[in-house]
């Protein structure tokens, strides 16, 4: 397995995409959180509790959960680009046990996703604490809790990267896989929350699991308020994290049962 992981790391670092992706993480973490914190949630439309409250801090940080489609897309590309550029010919020549190829990609990109998450979270922490200091606001959550929330977000980014790898292996076609992964995470899940009955499934969906992992309920609560429905009850953070891992295992197993075994022609 080590040679395969070594090869995947070299593949990941061979283009400058990794640098661009980390830059995006820094921009989203530092830029987005900095902007939201400087403006202040109390000035949002509709207004939300300010940074001096627990809900306000959770709401600002929770927005980062909506950027999970980026690491998910990176994970998806890790597999689909092999088919697109036909490198899969050599990859399966060098590693005829295809599950090893997938396992190496899951490990490598899980690690890479975690690094992405750490850059995102650490720049977000700097931006949040910096903005609070700038505005002279005392945050509504203890520093340790803020850091714990951000650490959970970093873990969620790693989990989404491996979920993307699993989805890429399952769908194989690059454009189709990206459409499904981004389309689902960005739109389909929010739409599901609006459907009475179906929305109770939300805690069990990937987005719901991420919200549970980060204790972020602002969007779900806002939707519930607008639709005059009961707020959705999320799972515990640990259960949310495990659920995300479960989705990855499910996608990877399904990929190994059929798509990864398909003839390379």
């Amino acid at each position: 397995m080590r040679p395969l992981i070594h090869a995947e790391l070299r593949r990941l670092l061979a283009t400058r995409m990794w640098l661009g992706t980390l830059l995006v993480a820094a921009l989203l973490g530092g830029g987005l959180i900095g902007l939201l914190a400087v403006i202040g949630p109390e000035n949002f439309d509709p207004p939300m509790p300010g940074l001096h409250t627990e809900a306000g801090v959770r709401a600002v940080l929770g927005f980062l959960g909506f950027t999970a489609f980026i690491p998910a897309a990176i994970g998806t590309l890790a597999v689909t680009s092999e088919y697109r550029h036909r490198t899969v010919n050599f990859t399966f020549l060098f590693a005829p046990d295809r599950w090893r190829v997938l396992a190496a990609k899951l490990s490598t990109y899980g690690f890479a996703g975690l690094i992405y998450g750490l850059v995102l979270s650490s720049t977000a922490a700097l931006a949040l604490f910096g903005a609070a200091a700038l505005r002279g606001v005392s945050l509504g959550l203890p520093t340790a809790t803020v850091i714990e929330l951000l650490a959970r977000l970093a873990v969620a980014m790693g989990a989404y990267t491996v979920l993307g790898v699993g989805m890429g292996a399952l769908i194989r076609h690059q454009v189709a896989a990206l459409c499904v992964v981004i389309g689902y995470l960005y739109g389909a899940e929010l739409l599901l929350m609006m459907i009475p009955g179906v929305r109770h499934l939300y805690p069990w969906l990937p987005g719901g699991a991420t919200s549970a992992l980060t204790d972020f309920t602002a969007v779900a609560d806002a939707l519930s308020q607008q639709l005059s429905t009961e707020p959705v009850r999320l799972l515990s953070p640990l259960a949310g994290g495990l659920l995300l891992v479960g989705y990855t295992v499910l996608a990877s197993t399904a990929a190994l049962l059929k798509p990864m075994r398909r003839d390379v022609i």
Binding site: L4, A14, F92, L93, V264
Partner: protein, 297 residues
Amino acid sequence: MTGIEVRNLTKRYGPITAVDTLSFTVRPGAVTAFLGPNGAGKTTTMRMMIDHVAPTSGSVTIGGLRYRDIPRPTTVVGAVFDASAFHPHHSASDHLRIYAAMGGYPDGRVQELLNLLDLADAAERRTGGFSTGMRQRLNLATALLGDPRVLLLDEPSNGLDPEGTAWLRSFLRDLADDGRTILISSHVLSEVQQIADDVVVIRQGRLLTAGPLHELTGTAQAVLVRSPDSAELSRILTRHAQAVRADGPDELRVRGLDAARIADLAAGQGLRIHGLTSEHPSLEQIFLDLAGERTKA
């Protein structure tokens, strides 16, 4: 010695049988040309050799083992299928380093191959800008990372210019002379005639013939006879030759007799001969003849 043994290999895609109970062997120390028209099942057969395609039935072994059972398989087999199987933003060096790591080969091997395949100057260039010849050389470099004893190349000279084709021929000849097993597929029969020691010819997934090229061309040798007495000469020659065919009003194509014997037979009957030409048939002609015989059968 690492040869390839294909036994009763069959691949069906739904109602279509791409490869049909195919059996042949490929020996080490020779270049074997795997021939047949487009869609004959050559690529499918070669991909079954390295587990890219799962056979419906039958088996392929390389050195007595199925590909997946070979420890460190790229030390035994190298294969090239697509003209370009590189990430366009990777450099040649990056590409080789990725697969060197995957195969567990030292980075020094990358530089060796870049030098061997005359890619050292282009090592840091993105493969997206490579010419067809450079791509093919990078393909070969990747396949050779593990210094394999068996090399499978699917249509390797597609898109190569005459210089590139000549280079490839000499490169493959050197590898075969070194005792390696080389299998190259092609639908351009004339192209491989200059390099192949053995041929395996298939059509519609079935074996037409397999064996040394010189035996195949030898048995199919013909003599073109020009004679104003062709009708009478044809009657005489038919009794002695394998086949006599009228190619024109004054022309006969005779198989199974050499030019001297034809001249003697004609002289014995007082028949005039205006020309005798010995023909070494092209692989195309052999293939067409074989295909024709099979169709008639």
